[in-house]
Amino acid sequence: MTTLEVRDLTKTFRGFRAVDDVSFTLSPGRTVALVGASGSGKSTIARMIARLVKPTSGEIVLTGPDGTAVPRRRYRDHVQMIFQDPFASLNPFHTVEHHLARPLRLHGKSPAEVPHLLERVTLPPEIARRRPHELSGGQRQRVAIARALAPGAKVIIADEPVSMLDVSIRLGVLKLLARLQREEGLAVLYITHDLATARHFSDEVLVLHQGRIVERGPGDDVLLRPADPYTRLLAAAAPNPETRFRQGGPS
């Protein structure tokens, strides 16, 4: 089983510490939620794990199923990313087929697996012939998830995977991710600013503030009984009709 460990990760941009000494472990069958406001460094962490941005210091160690460290050039067989905006993360020029067949080929698999990949994300096989603009937001994000699964990745970095989608389809995409995580033993990093889904779709919540993890633990502990003042602020800021109508709060 593939495990990814982040140790003392730090990224500075011109002296500004965007990510400051962050450590956590992604293990199979578990989802870690990384929550924070914009500018807290969430996406920078995602991009460092996806090897799009070089860390200033610290380590990202990937341990393969055989218990040894995965060599650099095999890294992308194991770690893949889902981007925030499915309207931007699919190339408008190419078909769905291209988006899935390329990563399959690059990682030594047969493009014949495309229909199977689509099935895993509950999309009909005929969607392979379509181009991104012919798909709805939810369908696009499913294609993006299939693309991340194509190399056979076991560690998935999901950077705000539903924040650009309509509310009514968000849950469907999150449930799909949760099912894949359970059934295929994926290690998932779920990055979000939505505390409610972070609480319900994760085993551990990390609260990020100005590049530092200020609080961590099981979702119920962190979000229902926050100890850190910043977490409390975040929890209070999220719109929550529950407090207005069910618990007699001020309207």
Binding site: R76, M81, A150, A196, F201, A237, P239, N240, P241
Partner: protein, 557 residues
């Protein structure tokens, strides 16, 4: 895609000339044959007459057209390749490579093209001055502008997520450029190519006319050169110089038309605009409820087109004094179209086909242009999604706020205006000292507050807010929502708050209308909607977000 007349005309004209260049030389005989006849006008054996030395003008024209087209093509390809290498590769590589490449492009760009071409062509001995030399000279002096355009486009494309996704999936750099970026640049490259071809044909004609053209081939330019040397103008032998000039002009025009159409295909905003037919004015608006500030009755908005889209269907809403009315709906449900129509900001092809919008007892849809101008912003203001990005980046906050007052309150003195601007900024929780700030010096949340301040400036009775906090952070969103509630309590205006974020509306609004496919499917107080939803779609929406503090239950499984 509808064929634009420009594209059809351009393609037809260019096609005729290309065909003539390709097939003409095969049909017209030898252009070099000298006859004793001398200069003869068109007619009989020589359809376009003969030159001073009795050569057939039509045959010369055919060969010259072929020569010019070949040269244009050569230059087009060379210049496009050069601009691609320097523009696309440089921009994708970034860093020092980009610096050097773009410095080089800029240096080439400031070298005046045609004079350089003349100097270089003049230095190459006439007997070595073949078509390829001329083409090379023209390409080298002509690629730089296109390289800059391609660089700018590539810089924006390389930051797209699909490029990052291709890198994450392990694609090699050249494949990312060739397969992910290049296809998206094709329209730009095509238009730059066409431009390079036109420029090359024109420049070559100029060069040849000056006697600096290719020695080994005949082009339209060399034809003009010989016509000039043969005193065609003085001898009134128009058939000698008019045809080559006409071919150059028509071909240049045709390619320009094609180029415009490429722009139009890429940029839909340039396509022909739909005529504005008058909106239907309410025939008999019923008197509104006494407490209502804004009454929308049976409003229908249709986007005219080949397949008309009925975006707003029979919507009725009442906004009462001091009330926050939430309008909930997902993307494409017509909520923004509705907001625009209420303020008469909808543009063709959108059209109000029936219904009424009453502001107090004013029929908004019946207002004349000048009345409408006085009505908007004074009585009813709007804050758009991403409005913080609609502040003018080159003027200060003060100038932009004062501008509104200058337009709508010309009687105010400058000092009064300054005081009012400071006052509204204080209202939205921004330090009036920031009046002198430029928009880029403010954070996104601050800019959105400034937009709200601008909407408050004239003390409107109604504010329409379309996703005003969607682009903002949760913490900033919270501050702005609290601000809106406080201002509503203090100033008593009514708010129509439009968003897809139902939890937010449930917390903020007094009443909520749920919209789907252009229709309002449920309209109730926030509490009723939350605790006793009637419509299945409302229930579906309510079930689609987990509560922060509630039980997860079956939600996540």
């Amino acid at each position: 895609m509808t064929r634009s007349p420009k594209l059809v005309t351009g393609l037809a004209l260019a096609g005729v000339i290309v065909l003539f260049g390709l097939l003409g030389p095969l049909l017209t005989g030898d252009p070099a044959t000298i006859r004793d006849s001398g200069l003869t006008p068109p007619g009989g054996e020589h359809l376009l007459g003969t030159t001073l030395t009795g050569q057939d003008v039509l045959a010369q024209l055919a060969h010259a057209t072929r020569g010019s087209l070949w040269l244009g093509l050569l230059v087009g390809v060379l210049a496009t390749v050069l601009s691609g290498v320097f523009g696309i590769v440089g921009a994708y590589a970034g860093g020092a490579v980009d610096e050097v490449f773009s410095l080089f492009s800029n240096v080439v760009l400031v070298i005046p093209g045609l004079p350089l071409v003349i100097v270089v062509a003049g230095f190459v001995p006439a007997d070595q001055r073949g078509t390829s030399t001329i083409a090379l000279v023209l390409a080298i002096t002509g690629w730089a502008a296109a390289a800059r355009v391609l660089r700018a486009q590539t810089l924006s494309l390389r930051n797209r997520d699909y490029v990052a996704a291709a890198r994450v999936s392990g694609e090699k750099t050249w494949r990312v450029i060739g397969v992910e970026i290049l296809p998206n640049l094709l329209p730009v490259i095509a238009s730059q190519f066409v431009f390079a071809v036109v420029l090359a044909i024109l420049s070559e004609a100029g060069l040849s006319f000056l006697g600096l053209g290719a020695a080994d081939s005949s082009t339209l330019g060399t034809m003009l050169y010989y016509a000039q040397n043969g005193f065609a103008l003085q001898r009134e032998a128009w058939w000698w110089f008019v045809p080559p000039g006409l071919v150059i002009a028509v071909f240049g025009g045709a390619l320009s038309l094609i180029n415009f159409s490429i722009d139009e295909i890429v940029n839909p905003a340039l396509r022909d605009r739909v005529r504005r037919d008058g909106d239907v004015v309410a025939s008999d608006p019923a008197p509104p409820e006494p407490d209502a500030v804004l009454t929308v009755r049976n409003l229908n908005v249709v986007y005219r087109g080949d397949t008309p889209v009925h975006a707003v269907k029979d919507v009725s809403l009442t906004l009462r004094r001091g009330e926050i009315l939430g309008l909930a709906g997902e993307s494409g449900c017509g909520k923004t179209t509705l907001a625009y129509a209420v303020n008469r900001l909808h543009r063709p092809p959108a059209e109000v086909t029936s219904g009424s919008v009453m502001f107090g007892d004013v029929d908004v849809l019946a207002l004349e242009a000048e009345e409408l101008r006085r009505f908007r912003w004074v009585k009813l203001s709007m804050v758009f999604q991403g409005a913080m990005n609609s502040l003018n980046p080159v003027t200060t906050v003060r100038a932009q706020l004062k501008d509104v007052l200058t337009t709508h309150r010309p009687e105010m003195s400058s000092a009064q205006r300054e005081e009012r601007c400071a006052e509204v900024l204080r209202l939205v929780g921004v330090d009036p000292a920031r009046l002198g700030a430029y928009p880029h010096e403010l954070s996104g949340g601050m800019r959105q507050r400034v937009m709200i301040a601008m909407a408050l400036l004239l003390e409107p009775r109604v504010m329409i807010m379309d996703e005003p906090t969607t682009a903002l952070d949760v913490l900033v969103q919270r501050e702005i929502l609290d601000e809106i509630k406080r201002l509503r309590d203090e100033l008593g205006f009514a708010v129509l708050f439009i968003t897809h974020d139902l939890p937010l509306l449930l917390e903020l609004s007094d009443r909520i209308a749920v919209m789907r496919d252009g229709e309002v499917v449920e309209h109730a107080t926030a509490e009723d909607l939350y605790l006793r939803p009637h419509h299945p779609y409302t229930r579906e929406l309510l079930a689609s977000f987990p509560s922060l503090t509630g039980e997860a239950g079956a939600l996540t499984r």
